[in-house]
């Protein structure tokens, strides 16, 4: 049914438009992600540090996963109305849980003997958190960031129905841009999501200490065991979302 490659022409002719919409898309996504980090991370760090609230920290992202982003945006239209704010709130609700959960799992999973050693060396609670727990939890934290970032970029496409702008504007406006525009927009957003994923994989590599890195390289396709056993040092997003796969 593809009778032409109209989307290529569309991308070339409307490069400026696509670029504008991409920028809008990124603005919505990064605002939401930033706020989600500011909300999710401190809670995850704190709960992980005091080793409490595991049930809440893990089930919050199971809960988040069950929320259809479309329904969430729709319900928020009823509450907040349409526009940027609505979309950003919806994206924060989607993005914060995975960040909270993986931060918690990372910090909570730091070997107790290490934190005890830190205490023994006279470090205070927050110093232990800052110098021992956070550095060791970084790979897990970045796994959560990757999940959330991709989720946000992906769901921001739906922002158009709430008047939030972004690439969804092109994808959902076939009347104005035609089928080739829709396809071009869809391709762009797909590439954007893959690029985001790639960026966070790279960041994940950078923050993973060399000693752990060599251990996870061993079996790239079987990450969940690392999660279950050594509390997530792997790069796999699926395994840490909610910590669910390995846990029964």
């Amino acid at each position: 049914m593809i009778d032409d490659f109209g989307f290529i022409g569309f991308s070339i002719n409307n490069f400026g438009l696509l670029l504008d919409k991409t920028m809008e898309h990124l603005a919505i996504s990064s605002t939401a992600l930033l706020i989600a980090i500011l909300i999710g991370m401190p809670i995850g760090l704190w709960l992980g540090h005091i080793h409490k609230g595991e049930f809440i920290a893990v089930s919050v992202s199971n809960l988040g996963r069950a929320l259809p982003s479309l329904a969430l945006i729709a319900i928020l239209i009823g509450v907040v109305g349409i526009g940027f704010t609505n979309v950003v709130i919806a994206l924060i609700v989607l993005a914060a849980p995975p960040i909270l959960t993986t931060t918690f799992l990372g910090v909570n999973g730091v070997d107790r003997s290490l934190t005890q050693a830190a205490r023994g060396m006279g470090l205070r609670g927050w110093q232990t958190l800052l110098r021992v727990e956070i550095p060791l939890a970084l790979p897990s934290i970045f796994t959560g960031l990757r999940t959330s970032a991709v989720l946000v970029v992906s769901s921001a496409t739906l922002a158009a129905i709430a008047g939030g702008g972004g690439l969804g504007d092109i994808i959902l406006n076939q009347v104005a841009y035609g089928m080739s525009g829709v396809i071009a927009g869809a391709l762009w957003v797909a590439i954007l999501a893959l690029a985001t994923d790639g960026l966070f994989i790279l960041l994940h590599r950078l923050v993973t200490p060399a000693s752990i890195r060599s251990r996870t390289k061993r079996d790239p396709a079987a990450p969940a065991r690392d999660v279950a056993g050594a509390k997530d040092v792997s790069g796999e997003r699926v395994t840490t979302v909610g910590g669910a796969p390995a846990a029964k």
């Binding site: 259809p68 319900i75 797909a190 079987a222 279950a228």
Partner: protein, 240 residues
């Protein structure tokens, strides 16, 4: 071929409608009960259908792929990469990218929904199969079990908790993603949501959204029970 769902007048009848409907309250219970048989129940059934088909096909594909990857570990990484890419593409984009090939049909929706289940089902099944402790495997080999017998009697039963875990995540995700399928086919709980957004009529999309969330929890709960039935030993030792 028009992708945008036509705006239909959702608010039924201003003349006879109750106060809540006229004022467009957040949730009008009367209207919901009244419209249940015509709007919500059919949409819910369609949604369950969309989800069920996607999970069954996705599971068959992912399970077979995991068996292959378990036997020939060379293919594990490429398969993992492929399913990761599929998983990363935004749902709305994937649905629309398939439209030129398969049209605005349920088939298009199902292809995309299946594609989203693959990563989680594949990697969880493979993790489960590969996760057998080395001493257990050595004991099995020592008892003279063949490779096939090890798979059937030891690896598969021990992988059940991981497989069920994957099914839980995949089902919940599919219930959620299937709402987005309404952009291309007039089916499932996403359809009343999209129609009501145009008006906008609150009760309809609040109700449909809430139904989708409840459905996700119900499916999750059922799979937990299934997991307890199939692998009662797993609930005793909690991991992670």
């Amino acid at each position: 071929m028009n992708i945008i769902i036509q705006a239909e007048p959702v608010i039924p009848d201003y003349g006879q409608a109750g106060e809540c409907v006229v004022n467009n309250g957040a949730f009008c219970a009367d209207w919901f009960v009244q419209q249940w048989p015509t709007i919500f129940w059919p949409a819910l059934l369609e949604h369950i259908g969309l989800t069920l088909i996607a999970i069954v096909i996705g599971f068959i594909l992912a399970f077979s792929a995991a068996l292959v990857a378990h036997r020939y570990s060379v293919v594990a990484a490429p398969l993992n990469g492929l399913t990761t890419v599929l998983y990363t593409i935004p749902p709305l984009a994937l649905f629309l990218l398939l439209v030129p090939f398969t049209g605005l049909t349920v088939l298009t929706a199902e292809i995309a929904l299946v594609a989203y289940t693959l990563l989680i089902l594949f990697s969880n099944t493979l993790t489960g199969l590969n996760g057998i402790p080395a001493d257990v495997r050595r004991a099995a080999v020592g008892m003279g079990l063949t490779r096939y017998q090890i798979l059937k009697r030891i690896e598969l039963p021990m992988a059940v908790p991981a497989i069920i875990g994957g099914l839980r995540i995949a089902s919940v995700l599919t219930v959620s993603t299937a709402t987005i399928a309404a952009f291309i086919v007039d089916a499932g709980l996403g359809s009343p949501i999209l129609k009501a957004i145009q008006s906008p009529f609150n009760t309809q999309f609040v109700a449909a959204g809430a139904l989708a969330v409840l459905l996700a929890f119900a499916v999750d709960g059922l799979l937990v029970l299934l997991g307890k039935g199939l692998a009662p030993w797993a609930s005793r030792r909690r991991i992670a």
